[in-house]
């Protein structure tokens, strides 16, 4: 299989409410990535547009965004796997290049969630599960992750404080990230205050266990070996891609104390890259909720099943630890603009592997990993990157 590299990355600032349209927001990530790769539109052979379609009235946004960015007549298409859309887009870009169909492909993720009214937003939230068999019970994302937390608690003795540890770590780095929505420090005491992080959401999850919606965009440009070497001084190679699905309905799940899609996608990615969890120097994992990061740590093999709380407690997931996780602040601090999320994770890892991560730079990383989940473990993507 021919090699494929990331040659450009970009991201808008993630904000509560973007004062513009999706095309204008997409431009922000696009222009950063194009400057980063130092290429022209004519060098881009195809674009993959990633978002969740329910948050904007524009139908088929791929066309509108491609036109705005001057990316006609190259092919473009829209891809969606909920919160992992741009990681799915990256896998497709990889395959379009590795197959020889294209030399250079752009993956653009975007989401504006703030322009719906609160009512419209709540209505869409209600349709996030199987609308025939589960949405009818009044389910929501936090409640589904809460079911997983409850199961993890019951099976391994995990405590709410173990989850709070994850949020405290996240905030430590959110403070440093000027692209993040939430930039205040968080202390354990804040979880004792029901007006702050301690407010109940869906037992056992509290306000501090949940990330916020955001508006944002991300852009990743990949190329084949020849173009990567021509365009780019520090290509970051895609070494492993894994992806999996699970049943939407909870009735189809073997267990709720982990996400099967994370385990399966991870296995595929490690196998393809020819490495093991121990080789990973820095990771971005999908932390829409604290319990999601806890499960990711275990599902990816950074800890044994049930060993996550101890790893977190020992601060091994901090920048100085054995496996730094989400040291850009994660979704808990950055916010979670669905379609843009995976691309933002990729950008963080690429910058780490180029030694360009500024105040969060890990020392000489060789391998980085991105773990991105769509829905409540419905879709899972794991991508492994390496430097020359």
């Amino acid at each position: 299989m021919s090699r494929v590299a990331v040659i450009g990355v970009g991201q808008s600032t993630f904000v509560r409410s973007y004062p513009g349209s999706i095309r204008e927001l997409a431009f922000e990530a696009y222009s950063e990535a194009m400057k980063d790769a130092n290429i022209q539109n004519s060098d881009v052979d195809a674009t993959v547009m990633c978002s969740a379609p329910e948050y904007d009235k524009q139908r088929s946004p791929a066309g509108v965004v491609a036109e705005y960015l001057g990316l006609n007549p190259q092919p473009t298409f829209y891809v969606e796997t909920l919160c992992s859309s741009s990681s799915t887009g990256l896998k497709l870009a990889y395959s379009l290049v590795a197959s020889g169909l294209h030399d250079c492909v752009m993956v653009l993720g975007f989401q504006i969630m703030s322009q719906l009214t609160s009512n419209e937003s709540q209505e869409r939230m209600g349709r996030g599960a199987d609308i025939q068999w589960e949405s009818t019970f009044g389910t929501m994302m936090p409640a589904y992750y809460a079911l997983h937390a409850q199961a993890h608690f019951a099976r391994y003795g995990t405590k709410p404080e173990d989850l709070a540890n994850i949020r405290v770590k996240s905030a430590t780095y959110g403070v440093l990230n000027d692209r993040a929505v939430y930039r205040k420090p968080v202390a354990h005491e804040d979880f004792l205050d029901p007006q702050k992080m301690g407010g109940p959401v869906a037992s056992p999850l509290r306000v501090g266990d949940c990330c916020a919606n955001a508006d944002g965009s991300s852009c990743i440009i990949v190329a084949n070996e020849e173009k990567a070497k021509r365009f780019c001084k520090k290509p970051v190679w895609i070494l492993g891609v894994g992806a999996a699905s699970a049943s939407v309905n909870m009735v189809g799940r073997e267990s709720l104390s982990g996400l099967a899609v994370g385990i399966e996608a991870g296995k595929q990615a490690y196998k393809m890259a020819g490495i093991t969890p121990k080789h990973i120097d820095v990771a971005e994992v999908h932390d829409c909720f604290t319990i999601a990061e806890m499960m990711a740590i275990e599902n990816l093999g950074f800890a044994e099943a049930g060993g996550g709380p101890e790893l977190v407690r020992a601060k091994e997931t901090y920048k100085e630890g054995s496996i730094p996780v989400n040291i850009d602040g994660g979704l808990l601090s950055k916010g979670h603009p669905i379609g843009a999320t995976g691309g933002s994770q990729v950008r963080t890892i690429v910058r780490q592997l180029r030694d360009e991560a500024d105040n969060i730079q890990v020392k000489d990383p060789m391998f980085g990993l991105v773990h991105n989940i769509g829905g409540v473990g419905l879709y899972g993507s794991v991508t492994i990157f390496g430097r020359e």
């Binding site: 209600g126 009818t136 009735v251």
Partner: protein
């Protein structure tokens, strides 16, 4: 079991998002007090929620079976926020129950007090038909 187009299924749940399915008979059974799944006549696979077609046998040769007896509580959560249309019922507790051959997802009977304290993962539960607060069809779990 294909039917003429009907919207019986819109009677299911506090808020219904869909009315048209080939397993609309589920609703009639629920009205009769029975929670029903389907079982493939060709391969014996049980499905809950019910399906009209079996991917193992590539057929739509299905029978109904009744969900009876007890299952084990896999997990549960009590919601303090809810989507549009459900907020009047807050707080409510959702749960997943394992019957062995299949699992069932739904809500805990609102008559169960202090569910976060009284429920334990692993305890035995039973599902029974019920009405939602706005008179729609549903089923609920009770400790068994």
């Amino acid at each position: 079991m294909a039917k003429d187009k009907d919207v019986r299924f819109s009677k299911f749940g506090t808020v219904s998002f869909t009315g048209v399915t080939q397993v609309n008979d589920f609703i009639d059974y629920l009205e009769q007090g029975k929670i029903m799944g389907t079982v493939c006549k060709d391969c014996g696979q049980k499905f809950f929620p019910p399906r009209a077609q079996c991917y193992k046998s590539l057929s739509s040769n299905m029978d109904w079976f009744e969900v009876t007896g007890k299952g084990k509580l896999v997990s549960f959560s009590t919601l303090r926020y809810g989507p549009t249309g459900f907020t009047d019922e807050l707080p409510y507790t959702i749960a997943l129950v394992d019957y062995g051959d299949y699992k069932v997802f739904g809500r805990i009977d609102p008559a169960v007090s202090n569910p976060d304290d009284s429920l334990k993962v692993g305890m035995e539960m039973a599902a029974k038909p019920a009405k939602t607060s706005n008179g729609q069809l549903t089923y609920v779990f009770q400790p068994a």
